[in-house]
């Protein structure tokens, strides 16, 4: 085939243009590929380490391994809160399409109540997608085995073992220790946008109230991690034990409480409502901080059923309430110790007498006393708890000096015991009146007699009265109550010894002497003796009017409906000659102090005394054998003549 020349030329021209441009195109393509190569240099060589890290964070994941929660121990190492293993059944939300059907499958293997089923479905709805939900705790071994055998046909269900908080003494420490419970949605929200992943763990429990709440961070420990390789859906492909991070267990918390004393306290209160607080009046260690009636903290760990909670919340004796710290009551006659001390400090001689005829007319009204006590001096006034004596004594002193002494002894104050919930109550004075009663800012003399017998505006709690009693018994130092001994082995609160009380020790000795007379010949003379040989105790009763008797509602003592009766107080220390233990006991609406509170205080005090080796040695003095050389008593017993004001000796720790 031949072609015309002109034709050929034109073709040639088209070819020339094409060839030039084809070269440009080839060049551009090469340039483009080179640009890709340059980008690869940037990504694969320059930024390699960054993407390697990102790749590893994709590939590896740490599954939270919860740490065991720290133990809470009493002063002798007795566990008050510990952990026990539990088999549980989890529903893995990211693998379950139809939770209801999965629950049906699960109910073939273990019983699931309709109520519980609703709760679980609600949890599934509310929680984050990737967090499993616990369907059941505390499976039996048979149930656990049954689930594991059938696991392959139960997608989205997984049985494993975790730890559950356990309170071996149930209710005795529920108010002090508090309890742990599921993290609520509100609590989770309060943690901000990135909560500690531990909080999302289905078995995790957060401290509520008491020590569990106050020291939650220390008790919680640090979560460990199980290093796993996951795919893009988050499903574990492989485990890598070498890369695991071990959890750090929570720190153990040692309290100064003594489980024996506290258990006995709850026991003797029975169904009564009230509180008992005991301190070592040489060190300030709190040996007992009990509120009755109580509740089983273990119920709250798994989630208390609504009906049970309602019953607890609605019961008139308020078991959920810590009456030792949060409830304030008029101290009644226990407050007379403070009035008497104020009198001594202000130069009133102990020999001052007032005459009680059973009633006293003053200020246009009649003031009553339990009976006609006759003429009494200060000691007799305390021992017999004569109201008419103290109406007049308080009137001669005025409210401000009394308030000053009362506050010095801890009334109306709060203490650094680390657990939440203390209510200070009130010690009134003229300044209080001026500030809080703008319509009637003047303190009327007629308000002083009531204050003199611990009524009127005066309100305190059991811990304050125990502190007051321990300061009287110590005789020198302004003791601070110390509830927590150590956290993670670190001794808590060992500041310089408390400052001395700004009162004459001789005046405190007088008060102690008068309190000893209360139990020998005074208002508590009818209370059974300690029956511990040479060991005696001293105390002060209080019968606090809960409200006005106007309109025939209630009467002095334990008459009328429960809620109308007087509160029964007793403060005590022992041994009377060398005080070691000081306590306060309150029986709410218990009637007379000597009838309800004092006998219970006796039981509690006896436990403390009998556990004290020094006291035991004094009680169990061997009788010298007839033919043997007589041993001087002082050789086996602690010298009883030691002045009570002497600083404590470390050897005198109860064990």
């Amino acid at each position: 085939m031949t072609e015309p020349a002109i034709f050929y030329n034109e073709v040639n021209e088209r070819q020339a243009v094409f060839n030039r441009r084809a070269v440009v195109m080839g060049g551009l393509a090469t340039l483009g590929l080179t640009a890709l190569g340059a980008r690869l240099v940037q990504l694969q060589i320059i930024e390699n380490s960054r993407y390697t890290t990102l790749s590893a964070s994709n590939q590896y994941n740490f599954r939270v391994v919860p740490p065991p929660r720290g133990l809470i121990l009493d002063r002798n190492g007795v566990a008050l809160a510990s952990n026990r293993p539990s088999f549980r059944l989890l529903l893995l939300k990211d693998e379950v399409v139809d939770p209801a059907a999965t629950l049906d499958a699960a109910s073939q293997l273990i019983p699931i109540s309709a109520q519980h089923r609703r709760e679980v479905l609600r949890d599934i709805d509310e929680g984050p997608k990737f967090i499993p939900v616990a369907i059941a705790d505390d499976l039996s071994w048979e149930e656990f085995a049954r689930i594991n055998v059938r696991n392959p046909e139960l997608p989205g269900l997984q049985a494993d073992m975790n730890e559950i908080r356990v309170y071996p003494y149930g209710g005795a420490f529920a108010h002090v220790i508090g309890y742990v419970s599921k993290v609520t949605a509100a609590e989770l929200k309060a943690q901000g946008p990135n909560p500690d992943p531990l909080l999302l763990n289905p078995g995790f429990r957060i401290g509520q109230q008491g020590v569990e709440k106050a020291l939650d961070q220390q008790l919680r420990g640090k979560a460990g991690g199980k290093k796993v390789e996951v795919n893009a859906k988050g499903r574990v492909v492989k485990e890598d034990p070498a890369g695991d991070i071990r959890p750090v267990p929570g720190e153990p918390v040692v309290l100064n409480l003594d489980a024996d004393i506290q258990n006995r306290a709850l026991e003797v209160f029975g169904e009564e409502s009230g509180a008992a607080v005991m301190m070592d009046c040489k060190t300030g260690e709190v040996l007992c901080l009990m509120s009755a009636p109580s509740f089983d903290a273990n119920q709250f760990v798994k989630g208390v059923p609504q009906a049970v909670y309602q019953e607890l919340a609605n019961y008139e004796r308020k078991p959920l309430f810590n009456k030792a710290l949060t409830a304030n009551y008029p101290p009644g006659s226990t407050f007379k110790t403070m009035v008497a001390l104020t009198a001594l400090e202000n130069g009133v001689p102990p020999s001052r007498t007032y005459t009680c005829a059973g009633s006293w007319s003053w200020g246009g009204r009649v003031w009553h006393c339990d009976k006609a006590h006759g003429t009494l001096d200060l000691k007799g006034g305390i021992a017999q708890s004569c109201d008419i004596y103290f109406y007049q004594l308080a009137l001669s002193l005025g409210p401000d000096p009394i308030a000053k002494i009362a506050r010095m002894f801890g009334l109306g104050g709060t203490f650094n015991i680390l657990i939440p919930g203390q209510k200070p109550g009130l010690i009134p004075d003229t300044a209080y009146k001026a500030k809080n009663f703008p319509n009637d800012p003047v303190w009327h003399p007629g308000e002083t007699p009531s204050m003199g017998i611990g009524q009127g505006y005066v309100s305190v709690n059991a811990l304050q009265l125990c502190v007051m009693c321990s300061r009287i018994a110590n005789g020198q130092r302004a003791l601070q109550p110390k509830l927590i001994h150590s956290v993670g082995g670190v001794i808590q609160g060992l500041p310089a010894p408390e400052p001395d009380l700004a009162v004459d020790p001789a005046h405190l000795a007088f008060i102690r002497d008068a309190m000893a007379a209360v139990v020998t010949s005074g208002t508590a003379a009818g209370v059974p003796k300690l029956d511990l040989g040479p060991i005696a105790w001293a105390g002060k009763t209080g019968t606090a009017q809960a409200h006005s008797y106007a309109g025939g509602r209630g009467a002095h003592g334990a008459t009328g409906a429960w809620a109308d009766r007087d509160h029964s107080w007793f403060i005590a220390f022992a041994p009377a000659d060398d005080p070691r233990y000081a306590m306060s006991a309150l029986v709410e609406h218990g009637g007379f102090g000597a009838e309800a509170a004092a006998p219970r205080a006796r039981e509690i005090m006896r436990v403390a005394l009998l556990k004290d080796p020094i006291v035991r040695a004094r009680i169990e003095q061997p009788i010298p054998l007839q033919n043997a050389p007589a041993q001087p008593p002082a050789a086996t017993a602690r010298p009883a003549a030691q002045p009570p004001a002497a600083p404590s000796t470390p050897a005198a720790q109860p064990t």
């Binding site: 060839n19 080839g26 390697t52």
Partner: protein, 389 residues
Amino acid sequence: MTASALTRPGERDRLIVKLGEIDWRLTAVLCLLAGAGTLMLYSIAGGHWNPWAAQHVALFSVFLLLMIALAVTDLRVWFVVAYPTYVVGLLLLMAVMVVGHSALGAARWLKIGPIHLQPSEIMKIGLVLALARFYHGISAKEAQLSWKLLFPVAMIAAPVALVLKQPDLGTGILLAATGLLIMMLAGLSLRLILAGTAAAAVATPAFFYLVLKGHLLKGYQATRFMTFIKPDADPSGAGYHILQAKIALGSGGILGRGYGLGSQSQLNFLPEKQTDFIFATLAEEFGFLGCVSILVLYAAAILIAIRIAATSHSHFGRLSAAGVTATFALYVLINGAMVMGLAPVVGVPMPLLSFGGTVMLTVMVGFGLVQSVRVHRYTEVARATGALV
């Protein structure tokens, strides 16, 4: 020697001569690329031939034979079927509008019995053939700037509009870009090219602005575009693809993490790992050296094909081979840029590497055409009729 044989009409029509004239270097490069794809698909499946590697290698073998068969097909046959192919492709694209099957919200498929037909793939070849045939028939002057250029513009615009309507942004871009490149290669006025480039430089910011304002692009395309601009904004959402691809690439380093050891692809963090993002898988397991080797192979294929185009004696042969090469190069560049986070994710696979029969068929048919251009480089093609000489 061979060249002289090819110049003799009687001699060059013998099958054995034609087979000898196939560019075996190009064929080898294509086989290497498909082999690399098979290797990666085997790895992604966790060291199994199923579900991808076996099918990939089987399809490639079939298509390789098809390519050889097409290579020995007379270039004048290609010339004859050029317009019909284009028209059929256009009709099928219209049909897809009416009765197409949708995947991922876009109607792209026609189902004829057991065959799933994607008309836009036919159009990739059809458009190249039709444009080459058109330019074959006009003079250099006319190709530079004349009213006749309205024909190629319309020929490009029609399928592009139909494809964008599906919507398939990736194919639309590919068709438009290929068409424009053929127009330029055919001799479009340089002044016009420069003016067009300048206009594009102005239009691009305007385009960005309109997209950002929420006009112009449809739902997922707008999202992809935004994602391309700011991929880190939502790493688990729309930016996931790009971010995971970059992690796979970057963590590969120089030598890669080892065959079968790429955690991004093996653990499914990398989306579309066997199709559009297979290059990221390769980058993760074989590193920079592996990537550069693959890019060199692509460069080799492109340059060999361009050389084939340049050595053709017919304008039809030149333009059709160059058009196929342009499509192929655009595939590689767009996919590469997309995987490396330099371009938005528009759903363009890496030819021969990515799993997927449709695109592989298109590419191998295209290279059949390129090979045919080489085999028939001395064949004269008549201007208008295309009658076999």
